[in-house]
Symmetry: D2
Subunit: 331 residues, 4 copies
């Protein structure tokens, strides 16, 4: 089910080693200005290059194949495709029968009866997030004055994230990371009870990103150990500004006008050079596996801009829904 | 948007102090046996009574108003309603203009232009979860041999949860809690990439529960500090059994045949007897508020069975979807 | 799948001889005034009583069980229930093994493995349309100045519809009918290409009404025999007013500002007193069946107000969607 | 809303004169064999060439850009793109301010605030149906032994359809047509009450095809003039075979095991060479318009294979849903 959203709807497609990856963005209002170069800044943030990121180099040149006319969105769905260039499937040839620990290889084999494309993770690859970043640029514009900013707080438990990633890489290993995202400038009242609270929609979409293992809003897990008198945020004015922000900007599933704040736990990249234990699915025998190929040592390094994109897509959709359902719709 | 699910779809309705709360469960296969008394065990687990839970007493007598004939589901939607009996709206009369910290009062006022039912939290009330518990009983049956079990790990940071809750209550305060849910006996391959991974659907539905502030799967936030060689679970056999379960039973968004494990952070109940700071929305003046009414001092105490219900609903839906999409559908 | 709509969503529930039938209307904007008596005029139009309609008499007293507070919608889902009073299931006891021609009895038996509620047609009964009529009253209000009007053009091929129905009834038989619906005052631009054109959504929802066998917009089937020079409507002004209205108010799936016009073919009521041929599903033997019970002789007589309700629900949903997606959503 | 379907979901994209048109088919089970040449037969049936069809010549070479590996579907979404080759936008340059009668030009201008791509009808073009035909080939395979066959019954009211179309073309005019579709070999029980009956889903999807103005099932509009004793189909055996098929294979929204039969009314192509009256939207003055460009004189000639494709997509989706919801899902 490669679709997310109610009015603004994003569909992802493609495989790591197929001809293209891309995004189909439907429900984008007509008239939004977009030049292909507008996508470049966010695409560059996602691109590999820093220590600890994969050696695979992709130009990530977006081709807008539908939905754009004379520099503006038309109201028809936008297809933005990225050719897959720097592909080397040879690395995956030996992996067919020895599922990689931490990956979906074995579960996908069972689910799809052996028919899923295994090359480079296929449709499960982090490569697909390039389409999300492109769609996110449009979504950020739909949010008007609101600002979405995600950053890596730490990798491997250390604030010097790039160094930690490089160290892990040098050891043939990988490192996890912690990402924080803040959105300021949102109006109060976004979110649709009972089942579409802001947290629920964001969590749903963000867990689609490979490696995300947890999410918490505001005080998050720390709030489980608080008392109410400590956790509740005193209200300062009729607009809803609060003295503290333990709620992370959400009450009862609705934005409350304070900054929206959440954190994501990202596990270490599953592909590592060190030997690992797995099984040969033909014989059932235990084997030692060394995963070849080119991988990020710390997947979390490249993820903040993807997190921003997903966050913007969710919030832009809620914004459109709120416009549709607002009081006075019948006058 | 009071609906969740793709084939098995749950709709919640009602308000805390309205005539009823209830659940409409659509897409339940025909022929599933159900007697009203089958709901009793789980409803009893949710019911108040222990120290630290609300003084409001509800009989929670389910009335199955459609979708059942001769003790079996018919394929038509099931409406299960619960009358609201022990209602005292007088407590809420004074709160109209002074939004309660930690609640959705102010955000809902802004969203719904002052028209939301404020009595007892209205449609935002934890009272609505009674319908989820009822639907969850059916969903558990749809899961066949799989077992869903949630329990409170701690309240206020202490394993003696009931005592911690009672202490908080005695102080006019409230306590948060940590809940763990485990599901054993699931097949591998549930979950629908890209946007409907198991974690994403569960998180989406679970954040609909009031007070949930965080969710983590398997090693969760701890995995952000791990290395890949430590975090990856060695695979032991072709069925996918692993030596450790840091993944919490999910790889790439798909169940992998190991137990599904996740934890939820629940904040302290927002309604407390201690005075709190808020604003009078008419005058803009800061005021001191004492929240009247009957409340749980530790909302998390009653939540495990609700968490089980939501989990079962999500997994049962994924099970039906997997049946529909399975290899060989065309033969 | 008992749900229809994207933002304004209607869910139907109940069975003909169960405790209740009803409607759950979600996504209705907050603040819309509604008194239970506002439903009465349309409910009365649907109610039986004229010659050719069923002898079953239902009070059709709507109970609004959620989503309404102080006479206004709250933004939470509205549950409107109708108790089933005048029920006599004895008539159906003998029909269990002899499926009625024209009804879903046999197909439902196969689909639901014999578990569907057979009494009075169960969930397939025309009784369920009472909920649609109630929801339609709200939808009509959401349409603002637009007027939705449906009427019976003929029954049994005759303009004197009630007489034709009475004649058919006297013969132990039933009659079909033709209904026309006109909506004036709609803005141009409602409808969402490619898959949600106005005609498509209306047809989808209207075929849910028992007995509808065809639908045509504007010149409809006659246009299949026209030439383009005859069928195209000359455009008279920049607002889109046309000299003729062969399009029935829709071009390319979008309303064009002219009156929306469509017609529905309704087959004769399937339950008739005359003997019919069917099979005993146990023995496979052909048998002669006389359908007992109380039925409309011309189902189409009571359908216009239901058609209006469904039409209003579809158009109100499209109106909310258009508000959400309108140009300038990002400013 | 360019998406249709619940489990098997088809998304359309592209514009008539943009770089590509295409289809994204999600929810297709893994393992279905597909070679690009398998698409050729149906694509050829849709392609122009006969008298009365457009002079635009497109190679219609499908590029399967995702979701296929080693000749089988992978379970990931299939993107099938067709480059637009024979494009001449010059014809449309003069039409910007004079909306063509019968087209969506003016309504789209109002809906999309002048930002829709006007070239060749943009996203409203019949060119998009090429993607439907490609997806339909896969859908037909999912239907197993069932056969879907559509044919043109008449054009301009005459059985010699190609001659009628050629005559209309010679007169600078166009002709409408009548299409019949029959599906044999379907199981009983497809369709999902209340809102997803077979007729409703088919009508919804088929009205997305440009020019469709009416649809009727079985006896259709004729049944409005029948009596029940004439219209009801006598049941012959426990499998549901009937002596007549006035129902067109559907009772109560469910397939009944008899052939599914429906007819579509298609209006004459709106673009004609003869002069037409319209308005200049800048000045409001009435003008005479001659529509340039290359067009089918009888759109209906090329539509039967598209109707088959849409029909197969709807029925394949219902088949997957029925698999998911079938009795015994819980065992």
């Amino acid at each position: 089910m490669n679709t997310f959203g109610r009015l603004l709807r994003v569909h992802l497609l493609g495989e790591s080693h197929g001809p293209v990856v891309g995004v189909l963005l439907d429900g984008c209002p007509a008239g939004l200005p977009l030049a292909p170069e507008d996508l470049e800044a966010d695409l560059a943030r996602r691109r590999a290059g820093a220590p600890g990121t994969t050696a695979r180099r992709e130009a990530d040149r977006p081709r807008v194949l539908s939905g754009l006319h004379q520099g503006r969105t038309t109201g028809a769905p936008l297809l933005i495709a990225f050719d897959n260039g720097d592909v080397d499937s040879a690395d995956y040839a030996g992996l067919e029968h020895t599922p990689r620990p931490g990956h979906a290889d074995l579960a996908a084999r069972q689910k799809y009866a052996g028919c899923a494309d295994p090359r480079g993770g296929g449709h499960f690859s982090g490569r697909l997030t390039v389409g999300l970043v492109a769609a996110g640029v449009l979504a950020k514009r739909l949010l008007g004055p609101a600002r979405v900013e995600a950053r890596l707080l730490e990798a491997g438990g250390r604030p010097d994230a790039e160094a930690a990633a490089a160290e892990a890489a040098a050891a043939g290993d990988s490192a996890g990371g912690l990402i924080e995202c803040r959105v300021s400038g949102l109006p109060a009242g976004l979110g649709e009870p009972f089942f579409d609270p802001v947290e629920g929609l964001l969590a749903h979409a963000l867990f689609a990103l490979g490696g995300v293992r947890g999410i918490e809003f505001g005080a998050g897990f720390a709030s489980a150990r608080m008392r109410g008198s400590e956790c509740n945020d005193p209200i300062l004015d009729p607009a809803g500004r609060t003295a503290t922000n333990h709620a992370g900007g959400v009450n009862g599933g609705l934005t409350n006008g304070n900054p929206l704040v959440f954190r994501l736990a990202v596990k270490p990249t599953s592909s590592i050079a060190l030997p690992q234990r797995t099984v040969d699915v033909r014989s059932g025998q235990l084997v030692e596996l060394r995963v070849p190929g080119r991988h990020d040592a710390c997947h979390a390094l490249r993820l903040p801009v993807v997190v921003e994109a997903v966050t913007a897509l969710v919030l832009a959709d809620l914004t459109l829904v709120q416009r549709g359902l607002a009081h006075g719709a019948w006058t």
